[in-house]
């Protein structure tokens, strides 16, 4: 799924368009390990994966974030086996939710491209120093052809200055990286990661503004976008490419006189608690679309939202689009119709 990305990069490098090193690793586990080693040596690093590959990387995700290496990786979101299925849902990246990586979800190809550039600037910020996943829906975004504006190299270089690592492996200045953390120090490291996640929210907003100033495009405030939320009484909360469908559905329902809006969550980790409370003000009901399921519980986004929003907002969870199941405007209208129903979780298929 990420194959397209890697193949394209290979041809860019081999045609001399991109000045970069590519290491052909034998597995995703090793790919992320090599990215870790390269990043620790002091170079800007990228990898791409999806589904089973991300699951295979799982162990190393925590090592990269724990070592505070600003690796950026695109995830072409796909389901996890079994049964084996190559199509889109968010089960792969949601299963990596607690790995200490920032997660940004893109709605369109343009947003996917722009977010790659933005993600480096956020990840490498000295108040952040966290790795980032740019989540793009498998097929819907990874295999779609649509016109995008590719910014000039010069202009990207101006936005994203050359990488200056805070720490690196260098015989001139020996450092030990990845030590043993005993119970007397371990929580300090983990708490520092949590604080960095919290600082990231401000940095995300700032970088989003800077991107807008230079390239003329932005994505809400970089954290989330409220679509027709000003007077909305009901909202659909969603992430990724389905937001496009929800936009159309919202427009249609607005024409029918329904006060419906959309909360498009771009930044899922760090989870923007305050912003979500702000944007939900005045809402009576909410349909939360999850392209994932925490088996035995709800979808992950629903659980997260429940923890921060007032009980006064009636919230219903809809499990959608698993393994590439299509979601149409009609489905969105139906789920909005079900807001407030006693069945707080429903599978749409």
């Amino acid at each position: 799924m990420e194959t397209h990305i890697v193949e394209k990069l290979a041809s860019f490098i081999n045609d001399g368009i991109l000045d970069s090193e590519m290491i052909h690793m034998e597995s995703e586990h090793s790919a992320l390990s090599a990215a870790l080693g390269a990043s620790a040596t002091g170079v800007r690093t990228f990898s791409a994966t999806a589904s089973q590959g991300l699951a295979l990387m799982h162990e190393i995700l925590f090592v990269v974030s724990g070592m505070r290496l600003p690796v950026v990786m695109s995830i072409a979101n796909r389901s996890l086996s079994a049964p084996i299925n190559i199509w889109n849902d968010h089960q792969d990246s949601i299963s990596a939710r607690d790995s200490g990586w920032m997660q940004f979800y893109a709605e369109s190809s343009q947003e996917a491209l722009d977010t790659m550039i933005i993600a480096y600037k956020i990840a490498e910020n000295k108040d952040v120093l966290l790795p980032a996943m740019v989540c793009i829906d498998g097929f819907t975004l990874s295999h779609v052809y649509e016109p995008v504006d590719i910014p000039e190299q010069k202009s990207v270089d101006r936005f994203l200055s050359p990488y200056k690592p805070v720490y690196k492996l260098d015989p001139e200045k020996p450092l030990t990286m990845g030590p043993v953390g005993f119970p007397d120090s371990f929580m300090y490291f983990k708490h520092a990661q949590q604080k960095a996640m919290e600082s990231a929210l401000q940095v995300i907003k700032k970088v989003n503004t800077e991107f807008k100033q230079q390239f003329g495009r932005d994505y809400g405030d970089g954290i989330l976008e409220g679509y027709k939320m000003n007077d909305a009484k009901q909202a659909v909360v969603c992430m990724g490419s389905v937001c496009g469908t929800v936009r159309v559905a919202v427009d249609k329902m607005r024409k029918d006189g329904k006060k419906v809006g959309m909360i498009k969550l771009k930044t899922y980790r760090p989870f923007p608690k305050k912003r979500l409370v702000e944007v939900s003000k005045g809402l009576k009901g909410m349909a939360v679309l999850d392209k994932n399921i925490s088996f035995g519980n709800y979808g992950a986004l629903f659980t997260d939202l429940k923890a921060v929003l007032s009980d006064k907002i009636k919230m219903n969870n809809f499990i959608i689009g698993l393994g590439g199941r299509d979601i149409t405007v009609k489905h969105v209208e139906e789920v909005v119709g079900k807001i407030g129903s006693k069945k707080d979780i429903e599978w749409v298929y």
Binding site: E21, I23, T45, G178
Partner: protein
């Protein structure tokens, strides 16, 4: 000349008489200051890096158990990118668990890609860090915590994996050598040679482990010497695919002399000892034949 400078600092937390700690110390004497190390999880990682202390006077990184060769691959290419590759020695270090077993894939692929680093496997015959569990390097009949010598089953039931030949089989571009902590100069020469090669090198150094092998901490080097004399650790190198012995004992001793130095073999029957003897004789003969015929591996 072995340099006096200690780049693996004393005060680390290895057990008394640790053979692997000797392997670390002398690897760094061979490599010198201008070195970066990618280290797998294991005994030497744990004893050397309890935050905020470190025994490493060179840049050192540890990520996980099975990926030291993959992390090393990233460092290798990043150094190339920075134009520093020619000036820096890159060591990748793992124990036998992380080399023979869980990290085998990462090592194999790094050799296939011809990554430029010297891999050192400190081979102490089991997963010693987690409490002496059997590995692919544990010799047959050794009693470990997961292959205990019981009334019915007498320790580990399988032969040790022949890693150096497996590594050499990848391609002729890999330099392979076996070493033994009892023969420091031979070991240092091999590490230097491995580092000087522009490509992968694999050095497997035999390291007795007092708690794992049930030997006295004062006997580490002695036990390693007897192992050498009893054909347990033939010392050779494979360069451009051709095997050559670097050191041979003036006379061999029966393997019982090796086995009786260690508590982990004390349950063995005479028949089992004979079986091991036969196995070692055959193995030695095979290696000698490879040397004599100059067959390219």
């Amino acid at each position: 000349m072995i340099p006096e400078e200690e780049l693996f600092a004393k005060g680390h937390r290895a057990c008394a008489g640790c053979g692997s700690a000797l392997a670390m110390r002398h690897a760094l004497k061979a490599a010198g200051k201008n070195t970066i190390i990618s280290h797998a999880t294991g005994c030497m990682e744990v004893v050397s890096s309890p935050y905020p202390e470190t025994a490493w006077r060179v840049p050192w990184i540890h990520a996980a158990f099975e990926n030291a060769a993959a992390v090393g691959s990233g460092i290798d290419r990043a150094l190339k990118r920075q134009g520093k590759r020619e000036n820096v020695n890159l060591l990748v270090i793992g124990g036998d668990g992380s080399t023979f077993d869980i990290g085998f894939q990462a090592l194999s692929a790094a050799i296939e890609r011809q990554q430029n680093f010297c891999y050192i496997c400190y081979e102490n015959n089991a997963y010693m860090n987690t409490g002496i569990q059997r590995s692919g390097a544990t010799p047959k009949y050794a009693s470990t915590t997961t292959s205990p010598a019981g009334k019915v089953v007498h320790g580990k039931m399988e032969w040790k994996k022949h890693m150096p030949l497996i590594v050499a089989a990848h391609n002729e571009g890999v330099y392979v050598a076996t070493a033994n902590i009892a023969f420091v100069q031979d070991y240092i020469d091999k590490v230097k040679k491995g580092l000087a090669k522009k490509g992968p090198a694999y050095i497997e150094v035999y390291c007795p482990c007092p708690p794992g092998w049930k030997i006295s901490p004062s006997q580490t080097v002695e036990v390693a010497k007897v192992a050498f004399k009893s054909k347990v650790t033939p010392l050779y190198e494979i360069e451009n695919g051709v095997l050559k012995f670097t050191k041979e004992p003036s006379s061999f001793v029966p393997v019982i002399e090796h086995l009786k130095t260690q508590g982990r073999f004390k349950h063995m029957t005479g028949e089992e000892v004979n079986e091991v003897q036969l196995h070692l004789d055959k193995n030695y003969e095979k290696l000698k034949k490879l040397e004599e015929t100059c067959v390219r591996l």
